[in-house]
């Protein structure tokens, strides 16, 4: 081979190598999401993804990050635990990823916390309401959350049912999932403490994916319940509510974050009226200093195809937390997973849901829980917790 040919080949190879490797500026970092962007829960997941992306886009555009650029690696769990675990592993193995935002479904939060821990990758749970995905119910210090878990949320749902609305004949239904069962267990425990065992007139489980609840509801109708509490998710809740109304069982159906959603009203139609839900988020105008309304305005201006939905504010707040943590990490020795983790454990964050820090178990120091009811085709807030989350206060 002639020397000139060899040189040409080496030059071409070097040239190709330059373009085959991903170009990564020194100050570019990534945050990985792990959310249901397709499938039965996509209405929640897409809203969360968009909201998280919005927080990062705003930070990048603001110029406050200096030469740091943050990008979002969107992960679609497609409603599959296997896919969730794959995404967590992939994010963990990618050195450019400094933090993760994970898991609408509780089961997936439970399945992935140890994977994030294995890679020392900080993760903020924006959904995953089951307490078993959070500390101190496991010991993985990379896990944080910016909303309360079920033990706290269900306490207030039960207080509303037992002490405020004073339901006397409550029938409990769960969907057999870890999320649904725990919701109902906790709700039942507190209702029993507050109003006695006799107000709980029975309990049934349904299978996820089931569509026809009319045999069960017909049986329930003869028991004359004044409240049906359902620990489960949006599709089953919607079908159950429609079939309740169809059978003339017009008593409130109470649910929680698995159902609280504009999509629930959309697919349930008029039958949604009267549905109750406890949820760990507030109407936008209730968040401090107009931050909720500002988020709503920015989200609308960004022209996303889907609404931000119930969990959008938590996702946006998680994005804000990461931006502030990365910013501070850059000033305090460099952006590494260790440093971001340190910032999450020590820093005070200014976010849409309020100013807060994470406690020793990765729980936010600010908690909002509210009781909603569908009235005139919209979720209307009835009660919310006081600022220290000790009691429910009626919303005028």
């Amino acid at each position: 081979m002639k020397a000139s040919n060899a040189c040409a080949i080496i030059a071409a190879a070097a040239f190709a190598l330059c373009f085959s490797a991903e170009y990564t500026p020194a100050a570019e970092y990534a945050l990985a999401t792990n959310l249901p962007l397709t499938g039965a829960w996509a209405n929640y997941g897409v809203g969360m993804q968009n909201s998280f992306q919005l927080a990062i886009d705003q930070a990048n555009a603001s110029g406050k990050l200096g030469d740091i650029k943050i990008r979002v690696i969107a992960g679609d769990d497609a409603g599959s635990a296997t896919q969730t675990v794959n995404l967590a592993t992939k994010a963990g193995a990618d050195p450019i990823v400094m933090g993760a935002f994970c898991c609408w479904a509780s089961e997936f939060g439970i399945a992935t916390h140890s994977i994030y821990q294995r890679y020392n990758l900080p993760v903020i749970l924006g959904g995953s309401n089951d307490h078993r995905s959070s500390r101190p119910f496991h010991t993985d210090p990379v896990v944080f959350r910016n909303s309360p878990y079920d033990l706290i949320n269900m306490k207030f749902a039960a207080i509303y049912a037992a002490e405020i609305a004073k339901y006397k004949r409550t029938f409990l239904i769960d969907d057999g999932s870890a999320f649904g069962r725990t919701q109902v267990d906790e709700f039942a425990k507190v209702v029993e403490e507050k109003a006695g065992k006799e107000v709980l007139i029975g309990r049934e489980s349904i299978a996820q994916g089931e569509k026809d609840f009319t045999p069960l509801l017909t049986r329930l109708k003869s028991l004359n319940p004044d409240l049906i509490y359902f620990g489960g998710r949006i599709i089953e809740a919607s079908l159950m509510r429609q079939q309740m109304i169809r059978l003339g069982l017009n008593v409130p159906l109470m649910t929680s974050g698995g159902t609280f959603s504009e999509t629930y009203i959309k697919i349930t139609g008029d039958a949604a009226e009267g549905t109750l839900a406890s949820f760990w988020g507030l109407p936008m105008e209730h968040y401090p200093e107009g931050r909720g309304l500002a988020f709503e305005k920015a989200y609308t201006a960004a022209n996303f195809n889907n609404p931000y939905e119930a969990f959008g504010p938590m996702a946006y707040a998680a994005g804000e937390v990461y931006v502030q943590a990365i910013q501070a990490a850059a000033k305090n020795g460099g952006v590494t997973r260790e440093q971001v983790l340190k910032q999450l454990n020590t820093q005070e964050f200014q976010t849409l849901i309020g100013n807060f820090h994470f406690d020793k178990n990765g729980m936010p120091s600010v908690i909002h829980i509210a009781i909603y009811q569908v009235k005139n085709g919209k979720w209307q807030i009835l009660y919310q917790t006081d600022t220290s989350a000790t009691k429910l206060v009626k919303v005028q």
Binding site: K211, L239, G269
Partner: protein
Amino acid sequence: MLFENWAQQIVNAATIGGMYTLVAIGFTLFFGVLGLINFAHGEVFMLGAFVALLAARLLQNVGVSAGWLLVPAMFLVASVFCGGVGALTERLAYRPVRRSPMLVMLITSLGVSFLMREGVKEFFPEGANPMAFPSPYMSQEARIGTVVINYTQISLIAASIVLVAGLYVLVEKTWFGKSMRATAEDIDAARMMGVDTDGVISNAFFLGSALGGVAGVMNGLYYLSIRFDMGWVMAIKGFTAAVLGGLGNVYGAAVGGYVLALLEVLIVVFVPQGSQYKDVFVFLVLILVLVFRPTGIFGRKPQKLG
């Protein structure tokens, strides 16, 4: 249990039984003429719902919102479309492998099933998400004592009975029915007697798939929401109903659908936590039927044809 509760449970079972029946008839027709357990049939059921939704949206966009016009149009569009899809699938996917071992056709049907399901998920606007389904008669209902039956249920029960009766006439009283029965009995003998067996099989696929599409629309009208992955469970239920009635026997499938629905209701009523485990019990019954009476309720020996 009070009489009113029983009456309500029977109305519940009749509504869902009608859907099971229409899907089961498709399974039994395909098995009868081709010896095929067509797993893509559940996806045809799903396609029926999605095409009807599309038709309803188009009609509503041009100002047609009257239920008496909208609902028949949805049924018509879904049945013609799904019938066409069924006939086309038979021509393109099953006919080339008709003489191959049964397993080949079975795997082909699974491939077709994936293709349809993923196609809707990827290419239908927002196909991955649950979608609200229009149901113009949902809010109108009749009450007999405490028994509630809304107009959607009445129309679904009536439609399934009329379709089964129409199928009886078609199978028993027409040349096509006679040809289909002859093909199911012995395809080579039927061909020798001058029956266009390819045409019969193609028409049987059209018919079975059209009924599946109708069941899909019924499902949407009744449950008010549809999803791209709704076909699989219905396929299993429809297949179970067909086996209960006697695979290959059209009347068996009709009865099997209602028996299956009634069985589900009884399990929920009498078995503690029955709602969660009703599918387990139903499939247990299916296993028992297969073990002790593999020919199903109507006792016709299943045949492999083609």
